[in-house]
């Protein structure tokens, strides 16, 4: 209980005089009749407050689960809103509440210890692990809930601006500088050169190698920059410009584009994908996503525009959840058109859309398919229009294409925590096979990596195919699988594909952070999500160190974990995630300590980077396997074990794969989440009926 509550006590509070104290004791002992196993400890506040009838749970109205629940939750628990940050609300009159207690729970206190138990701090105190959740609750209690989203956005912007004060990639390292200079250089060349020369101008010095949307955006930013101060973007003469003002300009373009694309996408995500959950939970998810350290560090510290690409991809899946598949497809094309890395998502998105067509049946599906094909090709055409006839000769299109997909470079460049680099420690790929073979090998491994979830899509779609004329459910059953599929495909690209950068881990991070944002604190999803996020930031440590962002790395990682209330010890005890997390954190911390205390030996200057890769890669491999497993579980959950056509509402719990414990069992949830989680009576009645 927050001590703030003290002031809320009315003057006739029960703590006044010895006389009332007697009464309190008696009420206290009455309350201790309620067994401590049940989270119905009510403080006086509830008695003092007017009784409010419980509102109907929102998910009951919306007719089902929210979209981010994973398969194990689907199978094992009843529909609920697990991570709701809503506190104990005075739901029912004491009488009714008492009647809902199950009989075995009503025992009388036999010893002093149970009296003690009654006096233990109420469980909701323990439940408030997350700083963000505490803050949201505080805002609600102060009656300023309208300020939650604006102030969270403002705080995030302030943080980004502060982060921007630090150094950026390639600051003060002539002659090539770094990513910052690349982006600035593109502004310079797009505003000064005709479109035809964008992809051919002085390729040695940061030639443009992103798809046209980046070029167009650079052009816009460049025009603004040129109006403000021409020297920032003067052709050639501005190379390596490092004035304070130009840095602020560049930084603010990132913040602005992020605010235009990524932040609306995030807000829309919490409102669409978590529509059936409370406003507080939605806002909690928003805060979790806003302060994700990896993206902040790369975009606003290191300097890149990843949030635009991720924002468009996120908008795409938001539109899919709204059944606006055409708009979603166009958004995904924009994402691809901004940065070719979005291709990592393509198998999942493509698989989803094809499966959706399949699910809708021959007529509707065919219609959708043709529309999708048309919209996608039209938007690609529009994006590449300046490079196509009649605006340019047909050969012009080859310039951007060859720049965007550089197969000529090696298997991997820097030390990056993927399969190739990690296995290179023991197995020197380059000595063993030709470059051409390695390309083919990596391509086929990548395909193998993302195939399972694409197949799962098709299978579920086939099994749950709508019969013509049937009224479709609010969401296609494959929708819930989409985040897992995105995770699988982007992770398999990250692990196995060619020419991967350490920053590319941001792509797999997006779907798993989306999943994490809707998961309760003690769930496996949460455990994986937080682990992968932290390990991802850790895997970028060599890069961040080079950029001079060490302090920012520490500050943001700690802040985000605090916001989440993440503590691996609170995960399901001795679960695989917990043990893995503890081991990985121990290894990562000792590596940092080692690096701090001992300089790298002269023989192995990259020793610490390699060790970093060796710690990070297994985690990424495991999360990739985990996402495949979740996808398979979802198949069983939705479609049963192969006896196709089982309607999804008739599945039973016995179908669970026994390799995973249920993520949140009812008992554990009630003990952790606290009194607020006690459901309304009809649920208990259902429970009784089942028994």
């Amino acid at each position: 209980m927050d001590p703030d509550e003290l002031s809320a006590l009315p003057p006739e509070g029960p703590r006044k005089s010895p006389h009332t104290r007697v009464r309190t004791i008696s009420v206290n002992s009455m309350r201790s009749l309620q067994p401590s196993s049940l989270p119905v400890q009510r403080s006086y506040l509830d008695y003092e407050r007017p009784e409010i009838l419980a509102p109907m749970p929102r998910q009951a109205l919306a007719g089902g689960r929210h979209l981010l629940e994973n398969s194990a939750q689907w199978l094992n628990t009843r529909s609920h809103s697990p991570g709701s940050s809503r506190q104990l609300s005075p739901t029912l009159s004491p009488g009714r509440r008492f009647s809902t207690l199950s009989p075995h729970a009503l025992k009388f206190p036999t010893s002093l210890s149970s009296l003690h138990a009654a006096e233990a701090p109420p469980p909701e105190r323990e439940a408030e692990h997350a700083m963000a959740r505490r803050w949201i609750r505080w805002m609600h209690k102060r009656g300023v809930k309208a300020w939650v989203v604006p102030s969270a956005l403002l705080a995030a912007t302030c943080l980004k601006a502060t982060l921007g004060l630090g150094s950026y990639s390639g600051q003060g390292t002539p002659p090539m500088f770094g990513d910052y200079e690349a982006q600035r250089h593109w502004m310079e060349l797009t505003i000064h050169l005709p479109i035809r020369r964008w992809y051919t101008y002085d390729l040695q010095y940061w030639g443009l190698d992103y798809p046209p949307l980046t070029a167009y955006v650079s052009w816009l930013c460049g025009i603004v920059g040129h109006r403000l101060e021409p020297s920032w973007v003067a052709l050639d003469s501005s190379r390596g410009i490092e004035t304070e003002a130009s840095k602020v300009f560049m930084r603010s373009t990132v913040v602005l584009l992020d605010a235009l694309v990524y932040i609306p996408a995030l807000i829309m995500f919490t409102r669409v994908w978590q529509a059936t959950r409370s406003k507080r939970t939605q806002n909690l998810a928003l805060v979790t996503l806003l302060f994700q350290p990896a993206l902040l560090l790369v975009d606003f510290g290191h300097f890149q525009y990843n949030s635009v690409m991720l924002g468009f991809a996120l908008l795409a899946i938001n539109f899919f959840a709204l059944e606006q598949d055409i708009a979603g497809a166009v958004c995904f094309v924009l994402s691809l058109g901004f940065k070719q890395m979005a291709l990592y998502y393509a198998p999942a998105i493509g698989g989803y859309l094809v499966a959706k067509c399949l699910y809708l049946g021959l007529v509707d599906g065919g219609k959708l398919f043709s529309r999708l094909a048309l919209a996608t090709s039209l938007s690609f055409l529009l994006l590449f229009l300046p490079f196509l006839p009649p605006f340019a000769p047909i050969s012009a299109i080859l310039d951007p294409i060859s720049r965007i997909f550089p197969f000529a470079r090696g298997l991997f460049e820097d030390k990056v925590a993927n399969f190739w680099c990690a296995s290179n420690v023991v197995f020197k790929w380059k000595n063993w096979a030709s470059s051409g073979f390695l390309v083919k090998l990596s391509a086929s491994l990548t395909a193998l990596g993302f195939l399972p979830n694409v197949l799962v899509f098709l299978r579920i779609a086939w099994q749950t195919q709508l019969t013509p004329g049937a009224k479709p459910p609010p969401h296609p059953p494959i929708l819930s699988l989409l985040p897992y599929a995105l995770l699988t495909s982007s992770m398999s690209f990250f692990l196995f594909s060619f020419q991967v950068h350490e920053k590319t881990i941001l792509l797999p991070l997006l779907p798993i952070t989306l999943l994490l944002s809707g998961a309760p604190l003690d769930s496996t999803v949460f455990g994986w999500g937080a682990l992968v996020n932290n390990v991802a930031v850790f895997s970028m440590w060599p890069l961040l160190k080079r950029d001079g962002l060490g302090v920012q790395y520490i500050a943001l990682t700690i802040l985000w974990n605090r916001l989440l209330g993440y503590n691996p010890l609170r995960l399901p005890s001795r679960s695989f995630v917990q043990l893995l997390s503890l081991a990985v954190y121990a290894a990562a911390l000792s590596l940092h300590l080692l690096e701090l205390l001992i300089p790298a030996p002269a023989r192995y200057p990259d020793l610490f980077a390699v060790l970093n890769v060796l710690i990070s890669t297994p985690v990424f491999v495991l999360v990739w396997l985990w996402s495949i497993k979740c996808g398979l579980q979802m198949t069983w959950a939705v479609g049963g074990l192969g006896n196709g056509g089982v309607p999804r509402l008739h599945r039973t719990a016995s179908m669970v794969g026994d390799d995973e414990k249920p993520v949140v069992t009812d008992s554990r949830r009630s003990s952790i989440v606290g009194p607020g989680r006690r459901r309304v009576p009809f649920e208990s009645e259902q429970e009784a009926n089942e028994k």
Partner: protein, 578 residues
């Protein structure tokens, strides 16, 4: 609310233990709850704030820092490499030691770990040495020493009459944009010293007046600017500690306080007394060679007067009115470094005038304090003392506004009148600090952070203290104040856009953005308004900022004075119970 406790010991009334346990568990086993100074028992939310503010401060490591950074590095070098007899004589750097001895001791303390981390950091001749290790070390010392502030603020919550409101106020002080701007960007150690000041105030609240006096004496020996507040301390301690309510002198109390304060000064100045260097030390501490205004006019009364002088000069020179114009004043508007500000039209101000004005206004508050020596009265008159010194003092620095804002914050939740004063003074005061940070990146941070701070302080507090305006004059004042506050976004917009407009107008001139290097107690080399049109134009945003904030701050002073003098006639806030 709980009834007033006659024992006048609020700490014991609401124990922190009972705060933690829910109000329902009234029946408690007599578990001994020891209260110790070293067991903070931080609430989760307090840890949250610590995490949040520390992350923010860590992110500010690479931000712009003023020459004060070099000043403090140099002081570390002085105290580390020279014997004490040389501390106040050394002139290797232009940034000579000009703080009292305790601060020199503090720098000596900081220099010990510094010499292990990087011996070059404490090398006296290694001027302007600022690699990453030095920045990280010095910035971390600011963060760590600011924990004193955090600790004092925590103690304020623990014994408070209304902990939830006090928590908001404490948090607002810990996260104050003033500290962020002055300490963590600009670079100084104010947070630490205001921590001592708050601790002293806390002791006064808890009834331990001897400790309060000692702590204030210690504070004075850290930084002598706190003398602005000394009159209130003097009157309060004399009246409530050394004289009994019946008017009899409490010899024992008086002697113990006097001895303790003298002892503190001996510990501080003792070595220099022995060495016979007191005149030299004092000449360093009080350089009487400065002008009325600082280069950037601190937003006080004299800023208004100076501005009025400029306007009158324009008027006179345009209309040709028959007024004697002081020719030297035409050129000299705001000399910061040396010499006096000479007005062109208005009569010239001498230090003695400012002194009389300040002392006169302070004594009004002090007389009231003499007759009502309660904690709340002390707090208000303390604020008013600092306020009067800031508004009417000679060569006041803009950072001195913190001396007003910090004690005023403690009064914020008393009543709507106090709250309004607090908001106006805070907004104007923080805005008046903005020109300290002029680099574009940091400017964005300071504005965003301050807006965020105002939202988080204003929104929850205003609901607690809101009072319905009861008369027409109240409504008019209320509206005017709102209009005034609404002017700040416009002013910020103007300050941001104006340089760009000027730059566009005069692209050929290509005037370099004049970098105002303001420091501890010195100086911005301000653009000479008559050097050319561009420079005059660049001075315009600063002047407007100064004048606009000065209006609000002056109004806040009048408001607070009025509220204080009419205290008995109106409802008393929760602090009056102490």
């Amino acid at each position: 609310m709980e009834p007033t406790d006659p024992t006048n010991k609020p700490v014991k009334r609401v124990s922190s233990g009972s705060l933690k346990s829910p109000p329902s568990s009234d029946f408690q086993y007599p578990t001994p709850r020891r209260k110790s100074w070293f067991r903070w028992e931080l609430e989760t939310s307090e840890y949250d704030l610590l995490f949040l503010s520390t992350s923010m401060k860590l992110l500010l490591f690479p931000s712009y820092r003023s020459t004060d950074f070099e000043v403090h590095r140099n002081w570390m070098a002085i105290t580390h490499s020279l014997p004490m007899s040389q501390w106040y004589y050394d002139t290797t750097s232009e940034w000579t030691l000009d703080y009292p001895p305790f601060f020199a001791y503090f720098e000596k303390l900081l220099s010990i770990p510094a010499s292990f981390i990087d011996p070059k950091m404490v090398d006296l001749n290694n001027l302007d040495y600022a690699p990453w290790t030095v920045v990280a070390y010095q910035r971390s010392t600011v963060i760590l020493s600011e924990l004193v502030l955090g600790a004092a603020l925590l103690r304020f919550i623990r014994g408070s009459v209304d902990p939830s409101t006090q928590r908001i106020i404490s948090a607002s002080l810990f996260l104050h944009p003033g500290f962020l701007i002055v300490d963590h960007i600009h670079f100084q150690y104010n947070g630490f010293m205001f921590g001592i000041m708050l601790w002293s105030i806390l002791m006064a609240r808890n009834g331990n007046k001897l400790a309060s006096g000692i702590l204030f004496a210690v504070l004075l020996n850290f930084k002598h600017i706190y003398m602005y507040l000394a009159p209130a301390y003097f009157v309060y301690l004399l009246r409530s500690f050394c004289i009994s309510p019946s008017g009899k002198l409490e010899i024992k109390n008086f002697l113990s306080l006097a001895n303790a304060v003298i002892a503190v000064f001996i510990v501080s100045f003792g070595p220099w007394i022995v060495m016979g260097q007191i005149p030299q030390v004092l000449s360093r501490l009080f350089p009487f060679t400065r002008g009325l205004n600082h280069a950037y006019w601190a937003s006080n009364f004299w800023a208004l007067v100076t501005a009025a002088d400029r306007v009158l000069l324009r008027y006179v020179s345009r209309t040709g009115a028959d007024v004697a114009i002081n020719i030297s004043g035409v050129a000299s508007t705001s000399r910061g470094l040396v010499g006096d500000t000479v007005f062109a039209v208005l009569p010239t101000i001498k230090p003695i005038h400012t002194f009389i004005l300040t002392a006169g206004l302070q004594s009004i508050a002090l007389i009231k304090l003499w007759f009502t020596p309660t904690y709340k009265s002390f707090l208000t008159s303390l604020t008013l003392c600092g306020y009067a010194s800031y508004l009417f003092g000679w060569h006041v620095h803009e950072k001195a506004i913190l001396l007003v804002l910090v004690p005023l914050s403690l009064l914020a939740a008393e009543r709507h009148a106090y709250f309004r004063t607090f908001i106006i003074a805070s907004v104007a005061g923080i805005f008046s600090l903005f020109p300290l940070i002029f680099t574009p990146g940091e400017s964005i941070v300071k504005v965003l952070y301050s807006v965020l701070w105002v939202v988080f302080v204003y929104v929850p507090l205003t609901r607690r203290v809101y009072e319905f305006p009861i008369s027409l004059s109240f409504v008019i004042i209320d509206t005017l104040e709102k209009i005034y506050l609404a002017g700040f976004p416009l002013l910020q917009l103007f300050v941001t856009l104006f340089p760009m407009l000027v730059a566009h107008r005069q692209q050929s001139a290509a005037a370099p953005a004049d970098t105002c290097v303001s420091t501890a107690d010195f100086i911005c080399p301000e653009p000479d308004p008559h050097a050319g049109g561009v420079a005059a134009m660049e001075f315009l945003p600063l002047m407007l900022t100064s004048v606009y904030c000065a209006i609000g701050l002056l109004w806040g002073f009048c408001r607070l004075m009025f509220v204080y003098l009419n205290e008995e006639t109106t409802y008393q806030g929760p602090l009056s119970r102490i």
